[in-house]
């Protein structure tokens, strides 16, 4: 536990002065070096693979044990971006993701509010039962679901794919907003009601804005769950509905490394941008709150 250090309030308020006014002791220097080494290892472990993949997207020739490509090229970008199939799969992904997110919100958000604000028998059991989607392995689920989808005539259809992708969003779309609604102080709602606001106005002007961060996080996580889903989409949607991640499997197995690297960057951009938008809420504990049962 070399990194565990409990600082008092004074140090917390004025860290810079506290450090510079005293000469550093040997143990402090050792600690600092140890934490630097650990952080460097962490940087290598987490960012290393991503940086290397990024470099591959511009590599022409790159042989072991060189640490950088020998020659560089942009030609893989042309090959990927001008490929009709791939363009189609990008478009398709961006049609599915908003549809899945909206349907999921319509099904789950009212329920999330009900779970947070009302008391009814079997409440916790219902909340936990949503968990079944996480506990049963997806592959097994999709295989027998295929039987159901054939019966309903949903195989290889738009709504069949939406359905499969929805399954991955229900838990986050219910649990996280429910925790956010529950965290809105009841006194604020009561005060609004006392001041003459109706039920609807109270919800719209008080509850919803206060629960906004939780709802935003849930919406974006659902959007990304849809954007990243490959297995179910492949089983239900092929051959007509090939989305980006499904396409990625083909690229990984049957194209040169550079093609997959370029496509990886294209596929990561939406995730990256969207998660940056809600980063501060996620770091602030909104996601964590959703996974504690009440």
């Amino acid at each position: 536990m070399s990194t565990l250090r409990v600082s008092n309030d004074e140090q917390a308020l004025t860290p810079r002065r506290a450090y510079s006014s005293r000469p550093l002791s040997t143990t402090q220097v050792v600690r600092w070096i140890i934490s630097c080494v650990i952080i460097l290892a962490l940087v290598l472990f987490i960012l290393g693979p991503l940086v290397i993949l990024f470099l591959w997207a511009f590599a022409d020739a790159w042989f072991y044990p060189a640490l950088l490509p020998h020659t560089w090229t942009f030609s893989w970008w042309q090959q990927i971006l001008l490929n009709g199939d791939i363009g189609h799969s990008i478009l398709l992904s961006f049609i599915f993701a908003p549809v899945v997110t909206l349907v999921s919100a319509a099904i789950c958000l009212p329920a999330a509010y009900a779970f947070a604000r009302f008391k009814f028998p079997g409440q916790r059991a219902f909340m936990v039962s949503l968990f079944a989607t996480n506990a049963f392995p997806k592959m097994g689920l999709y295989i027998v679901m295929a039987g159901l989808l054939y019966t309903f005539g949903l195989m290889d259809t738009f709504w069949g794919v939406v359905l499969v992708q929805l399954l991955n969003t229900v838990v986050v779309m219910t649990w996280i907003p429910s925790a956010a609604f529950a965290a809105v102080p009841r006194e604020l709602e009561d005060a609004a009601r006392d001041a003459g606001a109706g039920l609807w106005t109270t919800f719209w002007r008080v509850t919803l804005p206060l629960a906004r961060s939780g709802i935003m996080v849930a919406l974006i996580l659902s959007f990304l769950a849809s954007l990243d889903e490959a297995q179910g989409t492949f089983l239900v949607g092929s051959p007509d509905y090939i989305t980006m991640p499904t396409q990625m499997y083909t690229l990984v197995t049957s194209y040169p490394q550079q093609a997959a690297a370029v496509f990886s960057i294209v596929l990561s951009i939406p995730s990256f941008v969207l998660l940056l938008l809600v980063r501060k809420y996620i770091l602030g504990g909104t996601l964590a709150a959703g996974f504690r049962l009440r």
Binding site: P49, L67, C108, F120
Partner: protein, 297 residues
Amino acid sequence: MRKSNVIAMLVALIPIVFIAIFVGIPILMAIAFSLGYTGGPNTTVALLDQNLQVTQSGPIFSVYSHLISDLSFQKDFWSTIWVTALSVVLVLLIGWGLALYMRFTRGWLVNIVSSLYIVPLFIPVVIASYALVTFWNTNGFMSALIENVLHLHFAGIGYTSFGVVVGQVWTNIPFAVLMLASGLQAVPDPLIEAARDTGASQLTILRRIIVPLNTLPTMIVGTFTGIGVLGSFTVPDLMGPTAPTMLGVSMSRYYQSFNEPQLSTAVAVIVFLLAAGLGALYVWANIRSNRKAGATQ
């Protein structure tokens, strides 16, 4: 029950009913199918099977006995167990380390750590697995780095079960650290200072105050990571060895490559039983912690 509560219950039931129809019923169908009930909604899937076991009356266990006596299934099973166990342990260790570091240290290094650990959440799993296997492969960047800096030969861990563990740790770190960090944030500073004033060492504070107050987040991280790893497909498929593989991959092979959906669903049921055990642990930990919180109020 008041009228508004009845309405609330009905609204709350919408996602529940959705899950019941599209997950609950398929789970029951899968269990029935693996026990030899091949009629009804399972008829279509049964048509694909090369080696269908059909019951005459009552459930039959021949699918399971076939699996259990199959050497390749046994290897896959134990590989799945140890990959899951090792991944959970490593995720908890790294998660606790990073969460403690961020809770009790200040300065620019902490800012780096807190923007770093969240990165894997931003990357789709398919891409993460691909990036990781490229990085850790024989002749990958890690081998090259070790060759250049230390002049040692490193064969890489791509396409090995340990590579799968590395992939699982990479993808599960953000959730673990988020949960544990938010748990540690809830430990009040005055409590820790009071303990220090009475002469408690850092180790004692950790063991007697911080750890006991964070059993729930730890349990949540452990069970969720375990469940995720048990049923995972993408990471072991892209990073793992051909054999033994994790059960998520073998169930897809039984279905897509060997045309034996019945074996595939039986594997799924086995994984489900393991995951349900972890799920029960998760619910129990939550209930116990709620009861404790209720008792102190």
